[in-house]
């Protein structure tokens, strides 16, 4: 534009500051418009299919609404929330279990996933085969997987006979899923086993973004394998790590299917989780209002955790 008037122009004025300002304000306008346009499709869809139903559901948390009832819902204020914190020990236990689960699963699953990723990231024959094998539990129907593990956890199941054989009968296995002390650990093991292949994949794609030359250079400097991992691999995985941690945390907090298939929250509430409790109350026992209140509490907890995670892992420019 500026250069379209060609030869006629006599001495060019020193237009640089003016031009820059004009460009930046146009740029900002373009940025605002582009931002809105690119966010719009997702924002509209989210609004229609998440926000509207969630608001409807949240509205219910201040009422005594039921899943099935001839009576219109009645406004009950904060009764449902008071009930959750003062009269429902199962809810409090669910919160505790959910956090216990997440606290163990997040680091272990992330670490194991990284180990697997490093293994299958090597230039070796057949690594693709191993990648697929490790990924199989992720894609196998969780219902079938849970049923299979339920068999294995039985007192006479494969896990106990394995323990028996390996320790020459010194250690006796437990009745894993029927003992309040072992049920949650048993679910944790199954859950890690089931999902770790997925996080292996995320780590793997992160590993692949680390340029080979960096290793080359490290080796030139005489770095051994561990030094290479510490100085090249790990720093290169920072963003992937945040990513893996967030994914595992979120899915760990939402633990539901394994509980539903294997223990239904038992024995003696040792495996009940927030989502399981919300579904049991709000859906199976038809107390929609109360279930919605539990979900609302859950949202707030997740929100707090997500914000904390964002804060802790933010880029420190």
């Amino acid at each position: 534009m500026a250069s379209s008037t060609t030869s006629v122009a006599p001495a060019r004025p020193p237009a640089t500051p003016d031009l820059a300002r004009r460009r930046s304000s146009a740029g900002a306008r373009g940025e605002r418009r582009s931002g809105l346009a690119m966010a719009a499709p997702a924002a509209i869809l989210l609004g229609l299919f998440l926000i509207v139903p969630v608001l409807l559901a949240f509205g219910l948390s201040f009422t005594n609404a039921r899943l099935i009832s001839p009576n219109p819902p009645r406004f009950v204020g904060l009764d449902n929330f008071i009930r959750a914190f003062t009269q429902d020990p199962v809810f409090l236990r669910s919160v505790l279990n959910t956090f216990l689960f997440a606290i163990v699963v997040v680091p272990v699953q992330a670490g194991l996933g990284l180990l697997l990723a490093v293994l299958v990231n090597q230039k070796l024959r057949g690594v693709t085969f191993f990648r697929i094998v490790y990924f199989i539990p992720v894609v196998t129907s969780i219902v079938v997987v849970s049923i299979l593990w339920k068999f294995m956890y039985q007192p006479t199941g494969l896990i106990n006979s394995f323990i028996d054989t390996m320790t020459f009968g010194v250690l006796q296995g437990a009745d894993w899923l029927n003992n309040p002390r072992t049920a949650l650990p048993a679910i944790i093991v199954l859950s890690i086993w089931q999902a770790v292949g997925f996080h292996m994949l995320i780590w793997l794609s992160g590993l692949q973004t680390i340029p080979g030359e960096l290793y080359e250079a490290a080796r030139m400097d005489g770095a051994d394998a561990w030094a290479q991992f510490k100085n090249v691999t790990w720093p290169g995985l920072r963003s992937t790590m945040i990513f893996v941690l967030v994914t595992i945390t979120i899915s760990a907090l939402g633990l539901f299917v394994q509980i539903d298939v294997m223990t239904q929250g038992g024995p003696q509430n040792s495996t009940t989780t927030i989502v399981y409790h919300a579904v049991r109350k709000g859906y199976r026992e038809q107390e929609t209002g109360y279930g919605a209140a539990i979900s609302l509490i859950f949202f707030v907890l997740v929100l707090v955790i997500a914000l904390v995670q964002r804060f802790v892992t933010r880029e420190k420019d």
């Binding site: 038992g266 003696q268 107390e287």
Partner: protein, 429 residues
């Protein structure tokens, strides 16, 4: 390149979806339009059960051919999520005219006005087994073609070899006798002599174990008022029963390991199996004449078994109630009831159909189930609170099974049920 292939994938998929749904819509559109026969929509829980669907198809074909005012159009859902489909349809105001439902849920759906009073001629409903009729507040809302029954399966040879008396309807095992038998069988080498089905979950727990509680003198709820579980679910009788229940697991008489179904019994891994009529054919094939179908033990108030299976009702929003009734009347013919019984291995709901059926007539191999059902069947409490009661009962029983204190667990369950009933203004009682 990459972008183009994305666009291709999306457009091809979208186009196929459109084409496929257009086919579907076209097929559907034909029935509704015009002034031909009125359409009666009907949903069943029987997807994946070809034997049962076959009978429905036959009845519907016969009915559609018998008159030209109505056409029944059916859609079937898998049982596991059938109730979810119904609740969703009710929320969307889209219930079918005719729908089937599990017996104990009938009062809940009647109270919620999903279904309306059935108003079939009493000549039909009076002839049915009492547990095949679903009522709420003394009004009939649903009726079924069959009932199921539970019993104890055993091998005659095993009982004889261990000198255990074979119980009869007139003289069932007392609980002491039953315990002694379990101890004997355990000593004889059965690691857990009784398969009680505790590996299952959901409605099975209330269906299978609340009759035992009733046999001991307790109950899920005070059936006089339907307003409280206090005294019924946590009284001394209930505590006594649940203590027995807890001890049987602790003593190794039974366990919650194993698999759903009757395979352990057929393989002779367990000596006794507390299970349903639907497993009888399999065991009969596996062990033949050696099979005994025995009454459950008497915990004090006489043996009890649970009654109430799938039943049919008419939705409140049905716009062709007369046609729906006409269809149901047509369907309650003894020949159809007998056919359901043959295909499903369930107890026919009428005496005449019993005789027509292959397995449940006088002298037939599965006849004992009819006698057990007549002598002991007790429906689950007919209250809209039942879903809560059932879920609470299951949770309490499982906690007790794994060793929690009996009295305090039951008190907690009672409190939960009573709170729920109060917050629903007594569910109309």
């Amino acid at each position: 390149m990459k972008r183009r292939s994305l666009v291709t994938i999306v457009s091809v998929s979208a186009a196929s979806a459109l084409a496929l749904s257009a086919c579907g819509q076209a097929g559907q559109g034909d029935g509704g339009s015009g002034d031909g026969p009125q359409e009666l929509t009907m949903w069943t829980h029987s997807a994946g059960n070809p034997a049962e669907l076959e009978v429905y198809t036959k009845i519907i074909d016969d009915f559609n051919a018998s008159q030209d005012q109505y056409t029944v159009v059916t859609e079937s859902f898998p049982q596991g999520a059938y109730n979810d489909a119904i609740v969703a349809a009710a929320a969307a105001g889209d219930l079918p005219c005719l729908l089937d439902m599990d017996g104990p849920i009938v009062p809940n759906w009647a109270w919620a006005e999903y279904i309306q009073p059935l108003e079939l001629p009493t000549s039909i409903t009076d002839n049915l087994l009492p547990t095949a009729v679903g009522t709420y507040q003394d009004e009939i809302y649903a009726a079924g073609y069959w009932d199921a029954a539970l019993s104890i399966f055993a091998r005659k040879s095993v009982l004889d070899a261990n000198a255990i008396r074979i119980p009869t309807i007139d003289e069932p095992w007392t609980i002491e006798e039953f315990d002694a038998a379990l101890a004997t069988l355990k000593a004889a080498g059965y690691e857990t002599p009784l398969d009680i089905g505790a590996e299952d979950k959901g409605e099975w727990w209330s269906y299978a174990y609340s009759p035992m509680l009733q046999s001991a003198g307790g109950d899920l709820i005070d059936r006089e008022t339907m307003l409280t579980a206090d005294g019924a679910l946590n009284g001394p009788e209930a505590v006594e029963f649940f203590t027995w229940f807890q001890d049987s697991f602790a003593n190794g008489y039974t366990s919650n390991s194993g698999t759903i179904g009757n395979q352990e019994f057929n393989d002779d891994v367990v000596a006794l199996s507390y299970t349903g009529v639907w497993n009888a054919m399999g065991s009969l094939e596996a062990i033949g004449d050696d099979l005994l179908i025995l009454p459950p033990p008497d915990f004090g108030d006489g043996p009890k078994i649970g009654g109430g299976s799938w039943q049919w009702g008419i939705s409140s929003s049905c716009d062709a109630v007369d046609g729906a009734r006409e269809y149901l009347e047509f369907s309650f013919q003894d020949k159809y009831i007998a056919e359901f019984s043959d295909k499903q291995v369930v107890i026919p709901a009428t005496a005449a159909a019993e005789e027509l059926s292959a397995n449940f007539g006088e002298g037939d191999p599965l006849r004992p189930f009819v006698e057990l059902s007549q002598a002991y069947a007790l429906a689950r409490p007919a209250t809209p609170a039942y879903p809560v009661i059932s879920s609470t009962f299951e949770k309490a029983a499982k906690d007790i099974m794994s060793g929690s204190d009996v009295q305090s667990t039951l008190d907690g369950a009672v409190q939960e049920i009573d709170t729920n009933i109060t917050s629903n203004d007594g569910y109309g009682f």
